[in-house]
Structure formats: C-alpha cells, structure tokens
C-alpha cells in the first residue's frame, strides 16, 4: 500500500513544486542538514518516551510518581516532536513523488497516527491515573513503545526499500 492509491498525482508534483520542496532539491546540503536535526530530535523523543514507559512498568525514576515523570518529560518530548514534524515536512516536500510509491513511508504515517491517537487516549489515562505495574500501565507502556518503534523502523526503511 502507498499514497499513490489515495491521493491524486498532481498533489505530489505540487508538493515538490513548492518553494521549500524545490529549494531542498536544488541544494546539496539542506536535506542532510534537515535529516540530521530530525535524527537528533528522534534521540531526545525516544529517550523521553522510554523513560516514561519504563516508569509505567515500575522500572527507574521510582522516587517520582508516574504522573510527575510524565509531566516532566512530557513538555520536552512535545518540543522534540514538533521539531521532528517541522523537519519531516520539508523532507517530504522535497521528495513527495518518490514517496508516493513508497510503502514504508505509508506505514510510517499509519503508525504515526496510531501512536499519536494511542498516546493521547489510553497512554494519557495510564499516566494520569498514576499506578505503575498495573495491567493498564503495562499495556499502555508496551503498546506505546511498539508504536513509536514501528514509526522509527518504517522511517529507516524509507531510505532502503
């Protein structure tokens, strides 16, 4: 499955024709620079999700409650999420036509939607209710890790498949 089946072809061409898209295509360095920032934000984001999810499992940062850990790491993880989106969109614009036939990219977006949806519902409830090591907490933590790792894996696969 890929986006070619879902969106009209002119859309992908329009993306690459935008000022940002064509500027990145014509520049030798900008894609590499943007991707480097994307990966730095990924490190910070995965790290903070890992810390919160480990806390839900009852591992690490035990002196703070689940809710405190989630709040402390929540703000900064949204900052890095915004950096990831802000660097991801220009990269997409610069190669929208190639990505229209890429199934890893399609699945990355699917997992991203699932991960976000899950994060804002079940995961948020688990961190707010505060219990660590409960059934809800463990399910929320493992599904969260699986979803975000799937986004990262599919993202990596875009470059190779």
């Amino acid at each position: 499955m890929n986006f070619q089946y879902l969106l009209p072809f002119w859309f992908f061409h329009w993306c690459e024709g935008t000022g940002l898209g064509s500027m990145i295509q014509q520049s030798k360095w900008s894609f590499a620079v943007i991707e480097t920032i994307h990966i730095m934000a990924l490190a910070v984001l995965l790290g903070s999700f890992l810390i919160v999810d480990l806390r839900l499992f009852g591992l690490g940062m035990k002196k703070l409650t689940v809710a405190e850990v989630a709040t402390q790491f929540g703000v900064t993880s949204w900052v890095s999420f915004i950096v990831m989106v802000a660097t991801g969109i220009p990269m997409y614009l610069s190669e929208a036509v190639r990505l229209s036939t890429s199934s890893p990219f399609f699945y990355k977006m699917v997992f991203l939607c699932l991960a976000l949806l899950f994060h804002l519902t079940v995961h948020r409830r688990a961190t707010k209710s505060g219990g660590a090591g409960t059934g809800l907490a463990k399910i929320a933590a493992s599904l969260s890790l699986v979803c975000w790792l799937a986004v990262a894996l599919a993202g990596r696969a875009i470059a190779f498949l």
Partner: protein, 162 residues
Amino acid sequence: MHLADFFQWLNNLPFSVALREDDWPFPIIETFHILGLGLSVGVIVWLDLRLIGVTLKRQPVSQVVSQLEPWAIRGFAVMFLSGSLLFLAEPLKCYTAVSFRLKAIMLVLTGLNVWYFHSKVYPRVSEWDDAPVLPWQVKLVGYVSIFLWFGIIIAGRWTAYF
C-alpha cells in the same frame, strides 16, 4: 605496516565483504544503531540536562544518575555493537572519511568526560546533590556531553552521506 594497510586488510575480509555487499545486513544493523541511539543519547541528554540544572530539578542528582545511567549504558552497548559491525562493513570508507575520524575523536572525548565525571566530580555528589545551583564542574560535564553527542550524531550522519 601502515594504518591504511590494516584498514585495507579489514576491508578485504570475507566477513566485511559480505556485510557490505549483501542486501540485508547493512539496513538491519543500521536500524539497530539508530534505535540504540534513541535509547542511549535520548537518556544521556536527560542526564546532562539535570547536570546543567535545566530539568528534574526537584530530583537529587544522585537519584537521576542512578536511575537513568543503567539505561544509557544498555543503549550504548547496542550502539557500540551495531556501530562496530557498520564499521566492519566499510573500513576503507571510514578510514578516508574525515567525518568518521572526527566521530572517533569525539567518542574518545565523551569517554574521557564520563571518566572525569565519575572519578573527580561525582564522588563528592553529597555536597551538591540538592543544591539549587550546581558547581561549574558538574555543569561543564553536562554541556560537554550534550555538545559531543550531538557532534557525534552529525558526524555519523555525514559519514553515511558523503
């Protein structure tokens, strides 16, 4: 024997050729490398921010270190193992890439930074565990670590591109 000959010899090993020329090993290993990066650098950045005094301020430094450091070390082990394999796949390319040399130097420097922290700074943690403003040596370790790790990511990405 010149150093270049050693890299050439590594490059010609059947194991290296297989890693380089088969379709699957490199992407799979690199995926582990990037995930390991998320786990280790992601956690290390939080430790550094605590040392600088930006985050988790109500948590004593020793608690943050004792709870996060084991995960940083596990992530580093994943990165180091997968990174060694990536290096073995392309020894000659790494030898000639300036970015890889810079990366190797920065890795050694982070090692020295950790050694400095644990041998000279951290033993006296009880004096400043809860302090609102941490001694400059502690902050310095945090700044140096963040600076070096982001440098390592940049240099690593550059090795892949050019």
